[in-house]
């Protein structure tokens, strides 16, 4: 199994406002605190490479305290020059949020060339509140996503210049310099929460599917649908196309891990992801078919999940090294996930570094049967 270190770069604020997104006033953001946090977070990502993680992940969110990376490419750029081996996974750029998605093609190509071909390029739609923050029409979200993705893939693979004339994006000359180093283009991943349309779209293109913060039962179901969609497209999914993002809390004992997780992992769900329903679901963001599926599944909002729900549901993994190994075995052997992207919410910077070291020494080595395999060979393009 491959391990990627996933950072949200939260601004861990406790507050009583109804939303941590869109309307949470930025007067709560102290740039002096932010300076310390950004540098600690980047230190953690760099340390992850030292400890043996295979990849480092950044992502894009806007106007919130949950994740303070409005431009993931900026963070990726800093990591590229401070690391040598690890893959840099940008999970991902919010394509429909861009007025000029050709800029994504350019920036990813820059990073790929500078890093010697270590970049993984996630394509996402952005979550609901992002449509309030950027004012992009959410009813156009899906179509803009497909159109921007097609534009970027063509820009990376077809010799330019060529014209592109879409519904939302139009260019008389598509001809980005530089071209990406990886051939035919950097691996593309699709982080998603399981909409049927995205599963089908990703499977058809061999783009790995990343389940983000999802209960394990639903991961199993969506992985099944993805594998079936791959078969319909005439091939069998590699395990490295099935990836998962879940927070892991590991400590010397179950009791200690439990206490840390209650204090820190819970913040993500109860504060970081606190927002009203209308932000989660802007008009037209989800198709009626997927909305019907969501209603039938009866999924809870993050703030409605208790710690017990999160642990029992498999949203997070928490425990002593032995317990964490056992729980990860379910992901490795039953779900057959090939890549685990995880954050390690521990509270302080020092505690996080310790937790990372414990994981790297006591858990990771037990899942290294595939140490010699290149997880990006043949997938994502």
């Amino acid at each position: 199994m491959k391990f990627y270190y996933f950072h949200l770069m939260p601004y861990p604020l406790e507050h009583g406002e109804p939303s941590s997104w869109v309307t949470l006033s930025n007067r709560h953001y102290d740039p002096a605190v932010g300076h310390v946090l950004y540098n600690q977070y980047l230190d953690q990502l760099e340390y992850a490479e030292t400890l043996g993680w295979d990849g480092l992940c950044v992502n894009e969110h806007h106007q919130n305290c949950y994740g303070t990376m409005p431009s993931p490419n900026v963070m990726a750029a800093m990591l590229v020059r401070r690391t040598r081996r690890a893959r840099i996974a940008i999970l991902g750029n919010g394509l429909p949020l861009r007025e000029n998605p050709l800029r994504v093609a350019e920036e990813i190509a820059m990073l790929d060339v500078a890093s010697g071909g270590r970049v993984i390029s996630g394509f996402v739609r952005g979550i609901g509140p992002e449509y309030y923050s950027t004012a992009v029409n959410p009813t156009h979200s899906r179509e803009r996503f497909y159109e921007a993705a097609e534009l970027i893939l063509r820009a990376w693979t077809e010799p330019g210049p060529f014209p592109f004339d879409g519904r939302f994006y139009r260019y008389p000359f598509v001809n980005p310099w530089p071209r990406p180093l990886q051939r035919p283009h950097p691996p593309v991943w699709c982080p998603s929460q399981g909409s049927a349309e995205t599963v089908e779209w990703a499977a058809r293109r061999r783009f790995p599917y990343l389940m983000v913060f999802t209960p394990i039962k639903r991961i199993a179901q969506i992985y099944g649908e993805y594998r079936e969609a791959c078969e319909r497209s005439g091939y069998t999914a590699s395990r490295y196309q099935l990836t998962v993002n879940l927070p892991i809390v590991v400590a010397e004992s179950d009791a200690k891990a439990d206490a840390i997780a209650r204090r820190n992992a819970l913040w993500v769900y109860h504060v970081g992801l606190r927002m009203p329903l209308q932000f989660w679901q802007p008009p037209g963001y989800t198709t009626e078919a997927s909305l019907r599926r969501l209603l039938a599944a009866g999924l809870k909002l993050p703030t409605e999940l208790s710690f017990e729900d999160l642990e029992a549901g498999g949203y997070i993994i928490c425990g002593s090294p032995g317990t964490v190994r056992d729980k990860l075995r379910v992901f490795a052997d039953e779900l057959r996930a090939g890549v685990v992207c995880s954050g390690f919410p521990a509270g302080t910077h020092e505690a996080t570094l310790e937790m990372m070291q414990l994981f790297a020494e006591e858990v990771m080595p037990h899942f290294r049967e595939d140490a010699d395999v290149d997880e990006t060979a043949g997938v994502g393009r």
Partner: protein, 261 residues
């Protein structure tokens, strides 16, 4: 008595409520008002043959993914007039429906005997930004739209199951398709209002927090000869908050225009 019909207008299914007798009057509803024949329509139906269609994607109509711009809805209603063989009508639009009505009036004033706009949105007014209703939960929405919040009871959905929720989601999406950004207006409409040669009545709730009285005065200045009536007990939806007095003023205005033809 009202009758409900399902029509097909250039391939688009339309739910149409009709009632009353007299000269034809087309009523265009606002968000959340689809398919609800309320006291306002009853009052008008005593003097006019009221045609009350649900906008595509609203009131249980199928999703209307062909709609890209507010003018698509204006053309859609010109097509409906053709289908109903109505040469000229009195056109009454409230809020979002008022925006559509104004778009129709700048395109085809010759099809209108009179134009009544009840707290319309649709134009950019300097110094005014429409509050972003899509971001509001229900209590905030109600207190923003209504001055008399008891009037909101008339718009309570019929059910609570998945089908009702999906219907509400479809309505929000249909509205967002044309109104998300620019929010609740068409940048080209305001300067075209000078083309409206139809006699025009503007009805406005004094306490409108969606489109303030400042908006009303801009509309009144832009549409040649428009008359402005203000209703002191209302917010954004006077036809729901004070149906009898609003219907009386609207009815008298339309009747006078009818007589002047």
């Amino acid at each position: 008595m009202t009758r409900a019909r399902e029509l097909t207008v250039r391939g688009v299914p339309v739910r149409l409520l009709s009632g009353g007798a007299g000269p034809a009057l087309l009523f265009l509803h606002g968000a959340g008002g689809a398919g609800r024949w309320l006291p306002f329509q009853d009052h008008l139906a005593r003097r006019f043959a009221v045609e009350f269609p649900s906008h595509p994607g609203h009131g249980g109509s199928p999703a209307a993914e062909w709609i890209e711009h507010i003018s698509d809805l204006a053309f859609h209603y010109l097509d409906l007039l053709d289908l109903l063989e109505l040469e000229r009508v009195h056109l009454v639009g409230a809020s979002f429906g008022g925006w559509i009505a104004a778009e129709i009036a700048v395109m085809a004033a010759h099809r209108l005997t009179s134009l009544v706009l009840i707290d319309p949105v649709g134009i950019k007014v300097d110094g005014w930004i429409y509050p972003f209703l899509f971001a509001m939960d229900l209590p905030e929405l109600v207190s923003t739209v209504f001055h008399d919040v008891t009037a909101a009871l008339a718009l309570v959905p019929g059910g609570e199951g998945p089908d009702t929720l999906l219907e509400l989601a479809r309505e929000r999406a249909a509205l967002a398709r044309v109104a998300w950004n620019p929010y609740l207006y068409d940048p080209l409409l305001r300067r075209r209002l000078a083309r409206v040669t139809t006699p025009t009545l503007l009805c406005w709730g004094e306490h409108d927090r969606v489109a303030s009285l400042a908006c009303a005065r801009v509309w009144a200045a832009e549409i040649p000869g428009a008359r402005l009536e203000i209703f002191g007990g209302s917010g954004h939806v006077p036809h729901l908050e004070e149906p009898a007095p609003v219907a009386a003023v609207v009815g008298d205005f339309c009747a006078a225009c009818e007589g002047a033809r």
